[in-house]
């Protein structure tokens, strides 16, 4: 097949979170102008696609909304998720070699359970696409490389128990930036330990440090994992001009990364330097993914670009060593942790929804089985647009056996009888059906 890129461009010129918000109508305006002026849509290497509306069950393969996902979203969300599905179809049906869903609203801060908007996200569009790829095309092993400056805590949450998804996120150190998570020791639950790889970089890390990390660790891990498909959560807020973060990546740095990563599908995430970065970063990524010359894509104004701090490369080298050990020794660690946890693993989470001021408490429990098991989520949230709400949720993974399914149903019925929960829900991940008990 020719080296072609399918481009699903959806700038959502009529969607915004609030006036003046970084997620406002203007965000992709200058990118649109640049792409049109460059004439990129006329390149024979680039094929343009339009988004479609995703279906509710596409969303529910990932999310359990409280009270329901349908009541939490707007048509804009169905469109950006649908844009990802169109991008996936184009690649899987071999119409193009790669795809880029240059769409908004973004999604990587949205977790499995949704009570509202956090980190500008309501639904997690990449993870929805991954589960769609599995259901529709039987894809098994997936690698997601999250190049947004913020830790993709939502994607991490969705993939945390899934050993078939290698989720790699590099980002500005959580001690200095929202959402404050994403440290190397957050590496997955026992059955999936080492398939979540967090690489927190020091502020001011630039192209040099980033490519040092890619060549030294990310590339070897991808080589080893042998995924069926590589997905790039292509956030662009590592750019030196981004107003929300403090990194020093350039358009060339991003384009070279896209060139090396050779993602099958890229999905836009953040990136809020709407005038000085996005037009150039997107042009660079598109050219690189289409196999075209991107060497001329340089921001006209490089005056804000600073050299990276001397400690940045040291941090990179530490991560290569530390996270490399986590990843490459994961089989041994998984066994040890499983032996230790005795069939049940539990964690507590406090989740804050910055956009709406919602506080959520969660207890997540996995019950292991030779099939992989199932997990439950006890959630209570204060201050949602529906008031305070609580739910007991059972999640049935694709490969859950009959025994686990029966056990999960019994557990749901038992919880229902306690009358402690406003909602008792059972999620079937393979079909996207959510049953209210």
């Amino acid at each position: 097949m020719k080296n072609t890129l399918g481009l699903t461009f959806f700038p959502a010129f009529d969607w915004y979170l609030s006036p003046g918000h970084p997620e406002r109508q203007e965000r992709l305006l200058y990118t649109r102008d640049q792409l049109e002026e460059e004439g990129l849509f006329d390149c024979e290497e680039i094929k343009e696609y339009r988004p479609r509306l995703a279906e509710i069950h596409d969303l529910q393969r990932v999310h359990v909304g409280v009270p329901s996902i349908a009541r939490l979203i707007t048509p804009a969300h169905l469109t950006s998720a649908g844009g990802c599905l169109v991008a996936a179809d184009a690649v899987m049906q071999k119409e193009v070699k790669r795809s880029f869903a240059l769409v908004r609203p973004p999604g990587h801060h949205a977790m499995r359970v949704v009570h509202g908007i956090r980190g500008f996200c309501t639904i997690n569009i990449e993870t929805i696409m991954v589960e769609y790829l599995r259901t529709k095309y039987g894809i098994n092993k997936v690698a997601v490389v999250d190049t947004d400056v913020h830790h993709g805590d939502g994607s991490q949450d969705v993939f945390y128990h899934d050993p078939n998804t290698l989720y790699i996120s590099f980002h500005q150190d959580g001690r200095t930036l929202y959402p404050g998570t994403g440290f190397p020791d957050e590496a997955g639950s026992p059955g999936a330990w080492g398939t979540t790889i967090n690489l927190p970089l020091l502020p001011t890390t630039g192209d040099e440090g980033l490519h040092r990390l890619f060549d030294g660790l990310i590339a070897p891990m991808l080589e080893d994992f042998q995924p069926d498909i590589i997905i790039n959560s292509a956030g662009q807020d590592n750019h030196f001009s981004d107003p929300l973060a403090n990194m020093q990546i350039t358009a060339q740095g991003y384009a070279r990364l896209a060139d090396k990563l050779k993602a099958d599908i890229a999905v836009l995430e953040g990136g809020y330097s709407v005038e000085s970065a996005l037009p150039y970063v997107n042009t660079g990524i598109i050219l690189a993914m289409a196999g075209l010359d991107y060497s001329r894509v340089v921001e006209p104004d490089l005056s804000e670009l600073r050299p990276q701090d001397v400690r940045c490369n040291q941090r990179v080298d530490e991560l290569i060593k530390q996270s490399g050990e986590i990843y490459f020794n994961r089989a041994k660690m998984q066994k040890a942790m499983m032996d230790k946890c005795n069939g049940v693993w539990t964690r507590k989470k406090h989740i804050y929804y910055d956009e709406e001021g919602i506080r959520e408490e969660q207890i997540e429990t996995i019950r292991y089985c030779s099939c992989g098991g199932y997990f439950t989520l006890k959630t209570a949230a204060e201050g949602t647009r529906f008031g305070d709400q609580s739910a007991f949720i059972v999640c049935l993974p694709r490969q859950a056996c009959k025994k686990c399914r029966d056990k999960a149903h019994d557990e749901a019925l038992k919880e229902k009888k306690t009358q402690k929960w406003m909602y008792v829900l059972i999620q079937d991940i393979a079909t996207g059906e959510i049953e209210t008990v």
């Binding site: 461009f9 959806f10 700038p11 959502a12 010129f13 009529d14 969607w15 006036p19 003046g20 406002r24 109508q25 203007e26 305006l29 200058y30 649109r32 102008d33 640049q34 049109e36 002026e37 460059e38 004439g39 990129l40 849509f41 006329d42 390149c43 343009e48 696609y49 339009r50 988004p51 479609r52 509306l53 707007t74 048509p75 804009a76 469109t79 107003p243 005038e275 037009p279 150039y280 042009t283 050219l287 075209l292 010359d293 060497s295 001329r296 894509v297 340089v298 921001e299 006209p300 104004d301």
Partner: protein, 557 residues
């Protein structure tokens, strides 16, 4: 009285329209090597003493199209200010001379031209035509104009500025348009002079217009400044002809079936749909606006070939007249006659000719079936292309932009039979208006001037620009949508007056508004709008009672 002339691949037609009726019409063979000669013959045939009352002349000619497809182009010096971005090598018909400097997407000059890098340009005398184009020159034409000035000083003449020819984004398309304009300038100008002289000799002093690819007319002297707009006018004339004859109000697909080709267009609310992108000329995308239409190599005179597996292939070759009218080989028309879909000429001869392939009726149906299938394939890909138009708002995603045809409209000599067969297959009613034989010339005669321009205002920077005017102006106080529309409307009205065009309604065709935040403190507003003179035809035809064959034999219906 309105005079319309259409030069087609096979025939040159002329019509005179008066009081909403076809007053006189003529049809003659096109002289490919000398387009003008054919025009003059058609003109003399149709005039016959009506000369002094002609109030307007519109010409749709193949002169520019032929020059482009046959590569009879003048050499052009192409200089571009591409700045950072995509590599523009091989994006234009000739390798460009690249000039330093850059204007960004907000219209800010981020780098001036560094003339010390271009001493070779400054020190070499130029000659002939040149085209200049700068990225985002539609946001600020300063560098492009500076470059043009330099080239003019150095001896290039004329020098075409891309952003003046087209005010929309797409640097590559604008550049190619400017290149093709420069490359066809001389040829077109000679043609224009010959036309004017010929009309003067025939005592016609009415204003002369050239038909454009978007179905609008351009005063001849303006067309000299942008000759590339006169490319692909044949299909445009055909569409206008249909508008004059029927103007389908329901969503419709029109098919103009000629001897060699069939032109297919889409209709909504009585107007043909415009393509979202400009025409592609010789493989290069341009900014020349056209209708959303396709030509397919199937017509009444199309060759019919029986293939080894017993199936047929119709077209794309044309082999001459049908057997029914004295031809030697079977054409699509003969098959249509055999099927009883159309009646003309020696029907028995047609049946016998088709009968050589096997049982005449059975074989004829297969032949027509192949033609119908090919046309449906083209229609399907046009529908798919239309459905794939990008959508940038949630509202448009929900609304959808699908086109659902409800009726087929057929014009042209080959239309009646073929459209009936197509309608049966597509389960759509068909409409075959009379008068379709010189539809193109009628379309040309009745077409209206089109003129469009864009306005962009950016309140943060405090300017507005109408790229087609090449001017960037300070924003007047209390600027808003109303004021933006007023300014652009006034510009179009001023142009209308300059070009001596009749008064016409101005309509808004695109509008975008954004609140902007720049840095932490500045907030502003961006307006992007485009307005145009309402396109279309002057009026519909009221009566069509005669059809015409070659060389003016009239045939009463």
């Amino acid at each position: 009285m309105l005079l319309g002339i259409d030069v087609g691949g096979t025939f040159t037609d002329a019509v005179i329209i008066a009081d909403g009726k076809v007053f006189a019409q003529a049809k003659t063979a096109t002289v490919h090597e000398n387009v003008l000669q054919g025009i003059l013959r058609a003109l003399d045939m149709v005039l016959q003493g009506n000369d002094s009352q002609i109030t307007r002349v519109v010409i749709s000619s193949t002169i520019v199209t032929n020059a482009l497809t046959e590569h009879q182009l003048d050499p052009v010096f192409l200089a571009v200010i591409a700045g950072p971005g995509m590599n523009v090598k091989n994006k234009f018909p000739v390798q460009p001379y690249e000039v330093s400097g850059y204007v960004d997407h907000r219209g800010k000059v981020t780098a001036q031209i560094d003339w010390s890098k271009h001493t070779d340009l400054l020190n070499t005398k130029g000659k002939g035509a040149a085209a200049v184009s700068g990225k985002f020159a539609v946001r600020d034409p300063k560098l492009e104009l500076e470059l043009a000035k330099c080239l003019r000083k150095n001896g290039y003449d004329p020098v075409f500025c891309a952003s003046e020819l087209n005010g929309e984004l797409n640097f590559i398309r604008r550049t190619n348009s400017a290149y093709f304009a420069a490359a066809t300038y001389k040829l077109f100008n000679e043609f224009a002079k010959d036309i004017l002289q010929a009309l003067t000799q025939r005592k016609i002093n009415a204003p002369v217009y050239i038909l454009k690819a978007d179905g609008g007319t351009l005063p001849l002297n303006e067309a000299m400044r942008q000759p590339v707009e006169a490319v692909f006018t044949g299909p445009a004339a055909s569409v206008l002809g249909i508008e004059a004859l029927v103007a389908p109000v329901l969503p419709a697909i029109s098919l103009d079936v000629g001897g060699t080709t069939t032109d297919i267009a889409f209709w909504e609310n009585g107007h043909p749909l415009m393509a979202k992108h400009g025409a592609v000329i010789d493989g290069f995308p341009t900014a020349v606006r056209t209708f959303h239409m396709r030509s397919i190599g199937i017509g009444g005179d199309s060759q019919v070939i029986k293939q080894s597996d017993g199936t047929y292939r119709v077209g794309p070759q044309r082999i001459g007249k049908a057997v029914a009218v004295g031809g030697k080989e079977v054409t699509l028309s003969d098959a249509l006659i055999t099927c009883g879909l159309v009646h003309f000429g020696d029907e028995q001869a047609a049946c016998e000719a088709v009968g050589k392939f096997g049982e005449a009726r059975v074989e004829a149906e297969k032949i027509v079936g192949n033609a119908v299938q090919q046309i449906m394939g083209t229609i399907d890909s046009m529908l798919a292309e239309w459905a794939k138009q990008p959508v940038y708002t949630v509202e448009d995603v929900i609304k959808g932009t699908e086109f659902k045809p409800e009726v087929l409209v057929g014009v042209g000599g080959g239309a009646p039979g073929l459209i009936k067969a197509l309608g049966e297959k597509m389960r759509l009613p068909v409409d075959i208006p009379t008068g379709g034989m010189v539809a193109n010339a009628i379309g040309a005669a009745l077409s209206r001037p089109t003129l469009s321009a864009a306005l962009r205002a950016d309140t943060t920077d405090g300017y507005y620009i109408i790229p087609e005017s090449g001017r960037k102006e300070k924003l007047p106080s209390n600027f808003g949508r109303k004021k933006a529309e007023q300014v652009l409307k006034e510009y179009l009205q001023q142009k209308t007056a300059e070009w001596n065009l009749p008064d016409q309604d101005v309509e808004l065709v695109a509008y975008e508004f954004f609140n902007t935040i720049h840095g932490y403190y500045d907030s502003g507003e961006i307006f992007n709008l485009r307005m145009q003179l309402k396109p279309g035809i002057l009026h519909k035809l009221t009566v069509v009672d005669k059809e015409l064959n070659i060389d003016g034999q009239e045939q009463t219906l």
